[in-house]
Amino acid sequence: MNGFLYSAVLQWKLDLRSRTMLITCYAVPLIFFAIMGGIFTSIMPETTDTLIASMTVFAVSMGALIGLPPSLAEIYRSDIKNAYQANGVPLLLGLMLTNISAFVHLLIMSAILYVIAPIAFDAKIPENPGAHFCGVIILIAVSLGISSIIGLAVKNTANTSMFSILIFIPSTMLSGIMFPADLLPKAFEFVGKLFPATWGYVLMAENSLAGHHLWPLFVIFFASVLLCVILLKRIETR
């Protein structure tokens, strides 16, 4: 096994051991799914059509925005980065490994929801599973991009969770997974469109990879990558 692969597998195991990922990627989304899935489908039976999409958006937003930044802060705001540098390991590696690990955890959780939602709440299975999972992958990648900015930018580790929650709450509340986004006041609807969760939800709910829903996600993703590169450079030269 080469160094990169070993490091990636190890990071995945470390994330499981730390329990932060376990709680944010699996436990909380499953509890939310069990409670809200039951409530949504009994009050509004038509939500079974979009239950997989809405629960996936919540799980991905939760795992990425709340789960990833502490892992990044552990590396870049502590003396772990010194160990990387002393061994000639590029600082980018920490960012890549934590993102790959989180990506795999979130993809697993999305697959779990895809399987159990129809069984538990008679949720409608997307007609085009390929388009659904492409949407999931794009949403995970873009959400992790935003999380990486929080993990790299917030200087104080203790503040990481606060900033994560500040992004997570509007991201899920205004995305349309709780109630239709077009019922929101215009200002809130506009703010909701700044977050990937809104576009990811539309992508999965419509079960198609329509270009006009994709480009905002790509813009957010590339802007995140650019910002992460700048932040890493700043950390490197500090």
Binding site: M1, G3, S7, I75, D79, I80, N82, A83, Q85, A86
Partner: protein, 271 residues
């Protein structure tokens, strides 16, 4: 003997403050070399520049051989186990994971222990083991025994001597003068961003003058004296006691420690 490390005219500023003002250093292959200095003298900056962890403004650093680094301020992920860390560092350094140094450092029992559960001393020994994974020619140790108990300290000193016997060059920064005196072939004292002294401990003693500590116990008191010239100095002290009819019960004399010499150099130009 070939030089393992050469530093010429090393300069580094943080903003307007010039921390290193032209450092010249030379460490011979196979030597244990200590970098000393009071806080803020520029020790850590010098080490970090040499280790490649910090960019410097000007000067030339030439390192002749592979390098292993044990940083004072390094850490590992909280949930990584000792053996996983060894494998990870081995992969990074593209070598096979040789666990013999774990046994040599008395930390083979840490193989399955998580980093967060290790004591400070265990962590330091693990970091030393990780620095040795690539079997480097030159080893940088920053405060290697900080946080170790007496037993751990003795074991580590013994291991450093073993490493020296295998031909490794060791550059260490330490505040423990007894450790430096005990382990090092040569030293450099940094002062205000410049090298105030470089040479062996014996050469330092020669530079600052012969220095003795005299401890005298009488029927009334116990008192310590410091004299630069033992013969005439001791006679003066004894004559004084004799004049005052004080009975001397015990006299102990020892050579000045490295610490005293170090303080003398550090204070030299501040007078």
């Amino acid at each position: 003997m070939t030089d393992a490390l050469q530093v010429k005219g090393l300069r580094k500023s943080y903003g307007k403050k010039e921390v290193l003002k032209g450092i010249d250093l030379c460490v011979r292959k196979g030597d244990v070399f200590a970098l000393l200095g009071v806080n803020g003298a520029g020790k850590t900056t010098t080490l970090e520049c040499i280790e490649g962890l910090r960019k410097y403004d000007s000067g030339n650093i030439s390192v002749n051989g592979s390098v292993g680094i044990q940083l004072q301020s390094a850490s590992l992920p909280a949930y990584i186990k000792g053996m996983e860390a060894v494998r990870l560092f081995a992969k990074w350094n593209k070598v096979s994971a040789d666990t013999s140094m774990l046994a040599a450092l008395g930390i083979e029992h840490l193989a399955n222990k998580k980093y967060r559960e290790m004591s400070t001393g265990q962590k330091r020994r693990l970091h030393l083991a990780l620095a040795l994974i690539s079997n480097p020619d030159i080893l940088f140790l920053d405060e290697p025994t900080a946080g170790l108990d007496v037993e751990g300290r003795i074991a580590l000193h013994e291991y450093i001597r073993t490493l020296k016997n295998t031909g490794k060059t060791i550059l260490l920064a330490s505040h423990d003068m007894a450790e430096v005196e005990n382990l090092c072939d040569s030293i450099a004292i940094l002062k205000d961003g410049l090298i105030a002294f470089t040479g062996t401990v014996a050469e330092l003693t020669e530079k600052v003058g012969t220095h003795y500590n005299v401890h005298i116990k009488t029927n009334r008191e116990a008192k310590d004296f410091e004299v630069d010239n033992i013969g005439p100095g001791l006679i003066v002290i004894l004559q004084d006691y004799q004049k005052r009819n004080i009975v001397i019960q015990d006299i102990q004399v020892d050579r000045g420690s490295l610490e005293q010499h170090f303080v003398k150099i550090a204070r030299e130009d501040n007078r």
